[in-house]
């Protein structure tokens, strides 16, 4: 049996994907119109990381999962009401912006400082999890910089699978070009795994897990330190929605054979 892991998952919320988003620009830079009013969900890739962390902790007795989350406290509380029912974890909350327009460098600094402050965290057994990018900023750079700040140089991105051996080493499958997976073996933690989708379905809500989590979630939200992200040196000269609206030709009542001929002809055009 391998040594228990200490798994820290970084993840925050994003606007519900079904919402229409509109950018607005203010004195502090761009943001989303009515951002605080938009329904929010846990970032999908961070969610996969959390579910994989919970699964790994379940299979490796003695392991523990923390969720480190940077976002506006009120929104975090709202999202945690759902997320807390999915998997057991201890929340470390930071009160700051979760906007897609915040800088990954400064976000990484805030997250690394929060992880550094987790009492009793054994760095030798640390697996740092997160999404390989977020559905807001899509920076694909925050987790690498968090890991660097924590001195973690075994890093994997686009991870779909981790398989732990009895000797404590683990095999990691990372997405690479052409629909392939790169297979690597890492002999021991600490390591960073930036998750793609993994292979696990979203866990069903478990009210018991939710109640256990909420005992620590609420105090964590009350203790949340302010983490202002300044975006120093970053300037946006424009943010806009794509304007292109295509004039769709609707083809009704055409026989399937004729449609097929038209499609094949279209495919062969240069």
């Amino acid at each position: 049996m391998s040594t228990p892991f200490q798994i820290v998952v970084c993840g925050s919320f994003v606007p519900d994907p079904l919402q229409t988003l509109e950018p607005v620009t203010g004195p502090a830079g761009p943001s989303l119109k009515n951002e605080m009013m938009l329904p929010a969900v846990l970032d999908p890739w961070a969610g996969h990381a959390l579910f994989e962390a919970a699964n790994l902790a379940r299979k490796t007795p003695g392991s523990k999962v923390w969720l480190v989350s940077l976002g506006a406290k009120a929104k975090l509380q709202q999202v945690m009401m759902t997320v807390a029912q999915k998997a057991p974890f201890e929340l470390v909350a930071l009160d700051g912006p979760a906007s897609g327009f915040t800088d990954s460098f400064e976000t990484a600094a805030a997250l690394a400082a929060a992880i550094d402050g987790i009492a009793g965290l054994d760095r030798a057994r640390l697996l740092l999890f997160g999404g390989w990018e977020s559905a807001s900023r899509g920076a694909c750079s925050t987790m690498q910089m968090v890991a660097e700040r924590l001195g973690i140089t075994e890093q994997f991105q686009g991870v779909d699978q981790i398989a732990v051996s009895d000797d404590g080493s683990f095999e990691v499958l990372e997405r690479v070009e052409g629909g392939r997976h790169q297979v690597s073996v890492c002999t021991a933690p600490p390591a960073l795994l930036g998750w793609a989708t993994g292979n696990l379905p979203e866990p069903r809500n478990n009210p018991q897990v939710g109640m256990a989590n909420m005992r620590t979630v609420m105090p964590a939200l009350q203790r949340a330190k302010a983490a202002p992200i300044g975006n120093a040196g970053l300037a946006f000269s424009g943010v806009a929605l794509p304007k292109q609206q295509r004039q769709t030709r609707i083809v009704k009542d055409m026989p399937a054979e004729e449609i097929a001929r038209e499609i094949v002809a279209w495919m062969s055009e240069e």
């Binding site: 606007p15 994907p17 899509g138 660097e148 055409m254 449609i259 495919m267």
Partner: protein, 341 residues
């Protein structure tokens, strides 16, 4: 324009991939003095491949340890090249290898990084990056004052650099300055790759056509029955005959984990859309897809788009596709496959 370092890693055969040549084309278009930094088990052939590009210097970190795509060694090599070149702008292709390593390198250099850039241009000598936010739902132009500024360019956004056929010395021998780096201690070994068998390959980034399949393929059809096996046969048949690439909506990909009728050819790797990929293809054909904006971002970068759907008002297609065929995709694709031979 400020000086530019182009970072490029070699492939298994020692050459530079198309994505690297695209980044080179972007770097040359900026107008600053260009240094090329190469990383790989062997780098001389790659330097020769672009010897005539007009770069002022060629630097290289070479060795077996740097042949493996792995964070520790890639970051060490890139960091050394950045320090040796001392350029304020560092440009690289957004390959899986550089996307893994370069953000950490930017941190080590006290610089900043932007990924998924679709263009890097110079306006009055100041570089500006264009990239998408909120999963391709809004586009922004941004600039930074910090240096070095590391920019990763998404593949497929510009034409790759190629030497003019008659240009003297277009490709040949470049003088490469070796940058010495002691391979750092690492606990990671790359042991290989997992890929579908050649006849099952469904993701072809260079394909002309992207076929997007939606959950409609797995639903009850006009006869009241589910025909998932036939759906799979039709889809795979089309992919083989057209050498097309396959994308799937989130709903069809998620079925795999929910115990419903599934398309076995469809995995999370195929997912396009808000939480999937946004591949770049010349043409896209969507079939049995439903939904609104979150799915449509999946083909934001597909130039010509057609859709087959039984719903004439489908949000996937109206205003987003050039042509919407209101028809049964099973029937149409049977005929398409027959015509493709």
């Amino acid at each position: 324009m400020e000086n530019i370092l182009l970072l490029a890693h070699t492939e298994a055969d020692g050459s530079l991939a198309k994505a690297g040549l695209e980044a080179l084309a972007t770097a040359l278009g900026l107008g600053g003095a260009l240094t090329v930094g190469l990383v790989g088990a062997a780098t001389q052939a790659a330097a020769g491949q672009i010897a005539g590009c007009g770069a002022a210097r060629f630097l290289a970190v070479t060795g077996d340890a740097f042949g493996q795509p792995r964070y520790t060694t890639d970051a060490a090599a890139a960091e050394a090249l950045c320090r040796a070149a001392d350029c304020p702008i560092v440009l690289a292709a957004g390959t899986s290898r550089w996307a893994r390593a370069l953000p950490g390198v930017a941190y080590r250099l006290s610089g900043r990084v932007d990924t998924h850039a679709t263009s890097l241009t110079s306006a009055n000598g100041a570089p500006a990056v264009t990239r998408w936010f909120y999963r391709q739902r809004m586009e922004a132009v941004l600039s930074r004052t910090q240096r070095p500024w590391v920019v990763l360019l998404d593949p497929g956004c510009v034409a790759p650099w190629s030497s003019a056929p008659d240009a003297p010395g277009a490709s040949g021998t470049a003088t490469v300055e070796a940058v010495s780096v002691e391979p750092p201690a690492t606990r990671t070994t790359v042991t290989g790759y997992q890929a579908p068998k050649a006849d099952e390959q469904t993701i072809r980034p260079d394909a002309k056509v992207l076929l997007v399949a939606g959950a409609g393929w797995t639903k009850k059809q006009a006869d009241g029955a589910v025909h998932a096996a036939e759906a799979e046969q039709l889809i795979l048949g089309f992919l083989r005959k057209a050498q097309a690439s396959l994308g799937g909506s989130k709903s069809v990909v998620d079925l795999t984990g929910e115990g419903e009728a599934v398309l076995h050819c469809m995995t999370h790797m195929n997912q396009v859309g808000q939480t999937g990929s946004t591949p770049r293809h010349a043409k896209g054909l969507s079939t049995c897809c439903h939904g609104e904006e979150p799915h449509v971002v999946g083909w934001r970068f597909v130039n010509q788009r057609r859709a087959i759907n039984l719903d004439a008002g489908c949000g996937w297609a109206r205003g987003k596709a050039d042509v919407l065929y209101v028809a049964d995709a099973f029937e149409v694709m049977r005929h398409v496959n027959a015509l493709l031979g």
